[in-house]
Amino acid sequence: MTIMLVTITTVYLKQGFDTESNRFEVPLYYFIMLFVLFAYGEGVYGLI
């Protein structure tokens, strides 16, 4: 369900910018991919 998605999104947003790698590149890609997942849903290959 999209609820899973919401929790994932909020968790990642809390993590904010990845201080480990000192760059915003990968977290930005994560955000964009999560955004796409939010917009389109999980698809049929899912548990729920």
Binding site: I3, V6, L28, M33, F35, V36, F38, A39
Partner: protein, 145 residues
């Protein structure tokens, strides 16, 4: 529960084309530097391809640089996105297998992390198309996503 799901789904539906646009822009930004660097240093890129044993190294160097540059343009304008995503995905696979795989996953150690994300985003663009905010939509209307 179901109400929450439907509520979020409705918001999501309206954001689909924005999501595709964001992916296109981020990918275009990501391919810009590699393309420009290749064109500036074509000789050394060709030499590097030759050292890695690529067939037709100098020709491939031009081909890859050209595809990346074309990719930047097409991804920004949203034209022929599905078409250009194919060579770009191939370039990513080649980059992952021949260059990045041996460094592991982590982006910090030149691993295959970022090329993999690019591949996945290109794959998504191939599947869903360029979205409403694109030249394709302007030219072809609702017939093409």
């Amino acid at each position: 529960m179901k109400q929450l799901h439907l509520f979020l789904e409705n918001i999501g539906l309206k954001l689909q084309d924005t999501a595709l646009l964001l992916m296109r822009l981020v990918l275009a930004y990501g391919f810009y530097d590699p393309a420009m660097n290749k064109f500036k240093n074509m000789e050394s890129v060709g030499g590097w391809f030759e050292a890695m044993g690529y067939p037709l190294p100098y020709f491939s160097a031009y081909l890859v640089a050209g595809m990346e540059a074309l990719g930047v343009l097409l991804l920004i304008t949203g034209f022929a996105v599905r078409l250009i995503s194919i060579p770009l995905m191939i370039i990513m696979i080649v980059a992952i297998t021949t260059v990045h795989l041996k460094h592991g996953f982590d982006a910090g150690s030149n691993g295959f992390e970022v090329p993999l994300y690019y591949f996945i985003m290109l794959f998504t663009l191939f599947a869903f198309g360029s979205g409403k905010y694109s030249l394709t939509y302007l030219l072809c209307g609702k017939k093409r996503a």
